[in-house]
């Protein structure tokens, strides 16, 4: 029972970690809290569902498609709306992205209706048994994919010029500009990559959760907690906090019951905010917003 709880928590935590990275980067680099992130995850899941139900495409192969769709959407939204608002007040970006989220949800309701959908592959039900602990294949695979994506993004930031430009802008926008980095392009790129990662998380989530237009709302709470817990703008932090969050959720439902999962999550969140606002692995300069 104990090992099963730990496995369940960790496997789910990996997905939560990937769902949070894009949000955390956008917050850390741009200082924008993107409330449409839940909507991005939801659209990623619908892209995967659409590809599966129309072309029988395996959800794992739908990941690049979801990522591409959201990359374009993210780039567009940043270039047209978010960039304008960032020049006036960062806090307004919260309201702006909330409005964008409403629009995304309504469009999906119009296209797909608000019925619950699901993706059931041939291997959905089967699982691996190790020493009395059940490890469903789908969950194991999503876990591996989620962590692989997180690592890939980590390497992208540290090994490529574009990634270095993003990090430099996060550290000091003015100096980055002196180094011939165009902050507007970096912001659009960051927002697009954040959205793409949300899309990938959505495609992975489409195999584990019922798909509905409001599914993003369930994610955004977890994403917030994980981002703040891990430290804003830190990928390692997201992974660590995601796994921890999964464990906390699993143990809460074991000890107190499923109803208390959110209460405990929000209690953890408020405690972290008050005691250690920079999170577990948060660094100076990242996410310091005036």
């Amino acid at each position: 029972m104990l090992s099963q709880t730990i496995i369940n928590g960790l496997l789910l935590g990996g997905l939560y970690a990937t769902a949070s990275i894009g949000f955390s980067m956008v917050w850390g680099v741009m200082g924008v809290i993107n409330l449409a992130h839940g909507g991005f995850i939801m659209i990623g899941a619908y892209v995967s569902y659409w590809a599966f139900s129309h072309f029988g495409l395996d959800p794992f192969f739908a990941i690049p498609l979801s990522m591409a769709v959201l990359f374009v959407l993210g780039y567009f939204l940043q270039a047209v709306f978010v960039n304008r608002v960032m020049r006036t007040s960062l806090l307004l970006s919260l309201i702006l992205t909330f409005g964008i989220d409403m629009i995304l949800i309504n469009i999906v309701v119009l296209v797909f209706s608000s019925d619950f959908r699901s993706v059931n592959t041939g291997y959905s039900g089967s699982s691996l048994q190790i020493a009395g602990t059940l490890v469903p294949y789908v969950r194991l695979a999503t876990f591996v994919f989620a962590l692989a994506l997180a690592s890939a993004f980590y390497l992208f930031l540290r090994r490529t010029r574009a990634g270095q430009a993003i990090l430099a802008t996060a550290l000091d926008k003015e100096i980055a500009r002196l180094m011939a980095i165009n902050p507007n392009r970096v912001y659009a790129l960051t927002f697009a990559f954040g959205a793409a990662l949300a899309g990938a998380a959505g495609a992975l989530a489409s195999m584990l959760f019922p798909i509905s237009p409001s599914m993003g709302k369930e994610f955004i709470g977890a994403v917030f907690v994980i981002t703040v817990l891990g430290g804003i703008g830190s990928i390692e932090g997201c992974v660590l906090a995601g796994l921890l969050y999964g464990l906390v959720q699993a143990f809460t439902s074991l000890v107190l019951g499923v109803n208390y999962q959110n209460v405990v999550a929000f209690a953890v969140f408020l405690t972290i905010l008050i005691l250690r606002p920079r999170g577990l692995l948060g660094q100076r300069f990242f996410g310091e917003i005036s």
Binding site: L91, F266, L270
Partner: protein, 327 residues
């Protein structure tokens, strides 16, 4: 010349005149309009109160309390539970204010130490946590199943008029309070805090006490709106009482009208709620879409609020008039 340039006293006189005219119209309205429009007007007054509540903590104090709906829900539940325990409606409203003040002090003490984004999100988390707590507590709150308030012995016609006048009273109270705030020591302390917290502290302002007082006042007005709303709908459930959209909508209204101004939030509330009502009736399927688009457009193109653009438009027009006269 524009009324702005003529000096504050003339501007204030005109504002007072317009204000009392609108107030007279609002007092007469329930006897002249249909039940449908009475409901729409009551809704506008409710959101105007919520927007003014936000104005105190956001517009004047500079703390962006996106989750102020927590007070709306607490007010609704305090009223509901109070009446279930046998309190008369008016005393239940007093209870709502007491609960809001206690919540603002207990949660405000740690949460108001956060600033910027962090405070905004912490209030949202507080709202969500309260929602979950009400669901899990159950018992007299009714839990997830919701809570039915005792029905009024008055007929619906009389009751809805009374509800309307209560909302009007609270809205006028909130606006009057902000008008008073504009010229008092406390109001200056709030604005000093908004512009520079460290600076305010140097000037000898007890920032913690001032912040908590401002949030308690903001919460009290919001809780009153929630309490009256609960009796108006006679049935409340956690999801609708602690609906985050309530405070987001109030925030957009405040923004639309102009935050930190006395009458801006009222204009924003009337404008957005009328628009939403018209849209709601005509395009049921895309009302979320249109509300979202409105939010995006307001935030992107007029973040300083309608009042600001109206004033600058009036000023430009006034200048043109005066040059015409001199020419």
């Amino acid at each position: 010349m524009s009324f702005l340039a003529r000096g504050a006293s003339a501007g204030a006189k005109r504002t007072l005149l317009t204000g009392s005219l609108v107030l007279l119209l609002l007092i007469a309205a329930p006897f002249a309009v249909s039940n449908y429009w009475l409901r729409v007007l009551t809704n506008i007054l409710m959101f105007a109160t919520i927007a003014q509540g936000l104005n105190i903590i956001v517009g004047y104090t500079g703390y962006h309390a996106f989750g102020n709906s927590v007070f709306f829900g607490l007010g609704a539940y305090a009223t509901g539970v109070g009446m279930a325990l046998g309190l008369p409606f008016v005393l239940a409203l007093v209870l709502a204010v007491v609960v809001a003040v206690i919540a603002a002090v207990v949660f405000g003490w740690p949460v108001l130490r956060l600033s910027g984004h962090y405070f905004a999100i912490a209030t949202v988390a507080l709202n969500m946590a309260m929602l979950e707590i009400i669901i899990n507590v159950g018992g007299i709150t009714g839990g997830a199943a919701g809570l039915a308030l005792p029905l009024s012995p008055l007929g619906p016609d009389t009751l809805y008029k009374i509800i309307y006048f209560l909302m009007l009273t609270v809205m006028v109270g909130a606006t009057g309070f902000i008008l008073w705030l504009d010229g008092t020591r406390f109001g200056y302390a709030l604005r000093a805090l908004r512009d520079s917290e460290a600076g305010a502290e140097v000037m000898g302002i007890n920032t913690t006490a001032v912040k908590i007082t401002a949030w308690a006042l903001s919460g009290s007005f919001t809780a009153l709106a929630g309490g009256i709303w609960a009796y108006w709908f006679t049935f409340i459930e956690p999801g609708s009482a602690f609906d985050i959209n309530v405070s987001i909508k109030g925030y957009v209204m405040m923004l639309m009208g102009g935050m930190g101004t006395v009458f801006g939030p009222l204009i924003g509330a009337a404008f957005l709620e009328l628009l939403a009502t018209l849209v709601w009736g005509k395009f049921l399927k895309i009302h979320l879409l249109i509300l979202g688009l409105l939010i995006v457009l307001v935030v992107t193109f007029m973040p300083r609020g309608l009042l600001y653009y109206l004033k600058s438009w009036a000023a430009v027009r006034g200048r043109r008039d005066s040059t015409d006269v001199s020419a």
